[in-house]
């Protein structure tokens, strides 16, 4: 069926919207300003030589522009969002109410400590929960996101090695299936990276890891549950071997939501782990923020934690701002301007208090149950990458598409037409043509069943061998059809330029 074209370019209530610069009507403005009085020019050569290029629009035009853009957004509040590893779950509105309390929302980092004691207490409360849940000795609250938390952990490890005369340790071991941030963080800290292969089960090959341990190894970074959605069962054994070799054990806590309330990280022998508060403890996130990556530390690494840190002097809260003093005597210094993502702390504490330890334990259990439900029912037509059961994520490879001409990418695009945000594709890299799905604990069985029906329908359609062209044409119903991702990566147009001949703007917007 061919859709009729419209004169406006709009499709019903799906409205076309140009860039705000293309909507420019010179001189149009939301407010009438009086003519500027004539004054003596005092800027000399520094005065503006040309217009600064701000678009002219009326207030209703600006309101419509941004409202229309917001309507093109797909979010967890509009539908199912099984993007793997991202933990796109419902964010309770109670958190938002708490974060908007004036005592939390209207404070400034430069206020005197005596006027923000409640805020410091909240940071300490959040820290106390995290230490309690993980069994770890300390927590650095300031890292702004997961990868920033990794950096915090590795900088503590580096500081500890330097303090102990172990500066010759210059290599970090990272499994092949790791998040890309792990080797990137290690490289940023000046370490070389060696990859540890996975075994056929999708877990770290412990024998290979042990074979790599030697006096140059500074630390091992392992994600648990790992990016294949599987629990790393050998952590205690790994931790012992790592410690015996004089190295530290960093755990990537991106998937902590699958085990929270079920085990204490400290019992696994972990030295440092970041916690993605925004994921596990429910702050609206995506598109780059906001996140928070507090990093829990073992007693051996705790002395090196970054400033600023909240301390308690008698019964009164205070902030230690400077490395080299008091509780921060051996601190490696400051990695963020202030105390961290305070608004995320408020939401996390609100969530933890509302859920309670028993509620958090049930949440991780339900997340794992939901993922296993997807794994079991989708196995009817799709091919699971590993034997189940899985943890909070289900991973499929593309064997079920073999010979159909349809690829993982085509399935993802067709899912957009079904009204679902596609799962993560082609990651983890160790799985061929991977589809990585994380349903989270907050989706109902009815929602999961709807998603399963869509995906089973697409799998059967692909296998019928008659629908390849349909798949290549997907998505049909989105505001834009399939984008040329290759061209976008090879020849990106990163900024709008004013048209030289009146036609340039159109081209730049495509």
């Amino acid at each position: 069926m061919t859709m009729p074209t419209t004169a406006s370019g709009n499709r019903g209530l799906q409205l076309e919207q140009g860039l705000i610069f293309e909507l420019n009507t010179p001189g149009m403005t939301a407010v009438d300003l009086p003519t500027a009085p004539k004054v003596t020019e005092r800027l000399g050569d520094m005065k503006n030589s040309q217009a600064i290029g701000l678009p002219g629009l009326s207030e209703p035009d600006v309101v419509r522009h941004y409202t229309r853009l917001s309507q093109k957004n797909y979010s967890i509040d509009s539908g199912f969002y099984p993007l793997g590893s991202c933990t796109m779950k419902h964010n309770p509105r109670l958190n938002e109410k708490m974060a908007r309390l004036p005592g939390f929302a209207d404070i400034h980092p430069f206020q005197p400590v005596s006027t923000v004691l409640g805020a410091l207490e909240l940071i300490d409360t959040c820290a106390a929960w995290l230490k309690d849940l993980t069994g770890m000795a300390a927590v650095a609250m300031s890292p702004a996101a997961g990868a920033h938390g990794e950096l915090c952990g590795l900088m503590c490890i580096k500081s500890a090695h330097e303090a102990n005369g172990q500066s010759h340790r210059k290599t970090i071991l990272v499994p092949e299936s790791a998040h890309g941030t792990n080797p990137a963080t290690a490289a940023l800290c000046g370490y070389a990276v060696e990859a540890i292969p996975a075994n056929a089960e999708g877990r770290v090959d412990v024998a290979a890891l042990k074979a790599h341990l030697r006096p140059e190894i500074a630390a091992v970074m392992i994600t648990n549950p790992n990016t294949c959605g599987l629990f790393e069962r050998d952590c205690i054994d790994i931790a012992k071997a790592v410690h015996d070799a004089g190295a530290y054990f960093y755990m990537d806590g991106a998937n902590y939501n699958a085990i929270v309330g079920r085990l204490r990280i400290a019992d696994l022998g972990v030295d440092a782990m970041h916690i993605n508060l925004h994921k596990t403890f429910s702050t609206p996130h995506g598109g780059g923020g906001p996140g928070a990556g507090p990093t829990v530390l073992s007693a051996k690494l705790a002395p090196f934690a970054p400033v600023p840190m909240v301390v308690k002097v008698g019964e009164r809260y205070d902030a230690e701002e400077h490395a080299g003093f008091g509780a921060a005597k051996q601190s490696y210094g400051r990695m963020k301007g202030y105390h961290g993502q305070f608004g995320v702390f408020v939401r996390a504490v609100s969530y933890m208090m509302a859920m309670g330890i028993d509620g958090l334990r049930q949440a991780s259990g339900d997340a794992v149950l939901n993922a296993n439900y997807l794994l079991a029912r989708l196995s009817e037509e799709l091919t699971p990458a590993f034997d189940g059961p899985c943890m909070h994520e289900a991973v499929f490879d593309d064997r079920f598409l073999k010979g159909t001409g349809v690829t993982t990418l085509d399935i993802a695009k067709a899912l957009i037409d079904e009204g679902v945000h596609p799962p993560t594709m082609y990651f983890p890299l160790v799985v061929h043509g991977a589809l990585l799905m994380e349903p989270t604990e907050t989706e109902s069985k009815a929602t999961l069943d709807g998603f399963i029906e869509s995906l089973l329908h697409l799998a059967r359609k692909a296998k019928s061998g008659t629908a390849e062209a349909d798949f290549k044409a997907a998505p049909m119903y989105s505001p834009r059809r399939r984008l040329d991702e290759t061209k976008a990566a090879r020849k990106p147009i990163l900024r709008w330029l004013p048209p030289a001949d009146g036609n340039g703007a159109k081209q730049a917007a495509e």
């Binding site: 890309g180 594709m425 082609y426 990651f427 890299l429 991702e485 290759t486 990566a489 090879r490």
Partner: protein
């Protein structure tokens, strides 16, 4: 006389005397999909067999290109960064990554010849 050898990481090396030209195989480019970014090593860079030598990025994944042998880079393919699609269209020809002066020609003995590599790839799919 030149000889071509292959690694399990899907690099090829074509050797004349003690100078080899390195690239990735047809199978590798097919698995990666549309290649959008390539970084080649500078001349003079010392590399070890199995060590990282170049970077290749596609719409699906970013990956290292490992040097099949130890030695010193003589030249990186300067045309590739501006035309990464060449790796897709001509992986065994114009899509070469770098030329290397081998420090130990005997290392080639540990690599696969065309027949062994074809068998290796057939077992993967």
């Amino acid at each position: 006389m030149s000889q071509t050898r292959f690694t399990k990481d899907h690099e090829w090396i074509k050797v004349d005397g003690n100078v080899g030209t390195v690239g990735i195989t047809e199978f590798a480019q097919g698995q990666l999909g549309d290649i959008v970014f390539v970084e080649v090593p500078p001349a003079g860079k010392a590399v070890k067999a199995g060590g990282e030598a170049a970077v290749v990025e596609s719409v699906k994944a970013a990956s290292e290109v490992y040097s099949p042998v130890s030695g010193t880079v003589k030249e990186g393919n300067s045309a590739l960064p501006d035309a990464p699609e060449t790796v897709n269209s001509d992986p065994r020809g114009k899509g070469w990554f770098f030329k290397i002066e081998l420090s130990d020609v005997k290392e080639l003995d540990g690599l696969m010849d065309q027949a062994a590599y074809d068998k290796f790839v057939a077992e993967l799919s």
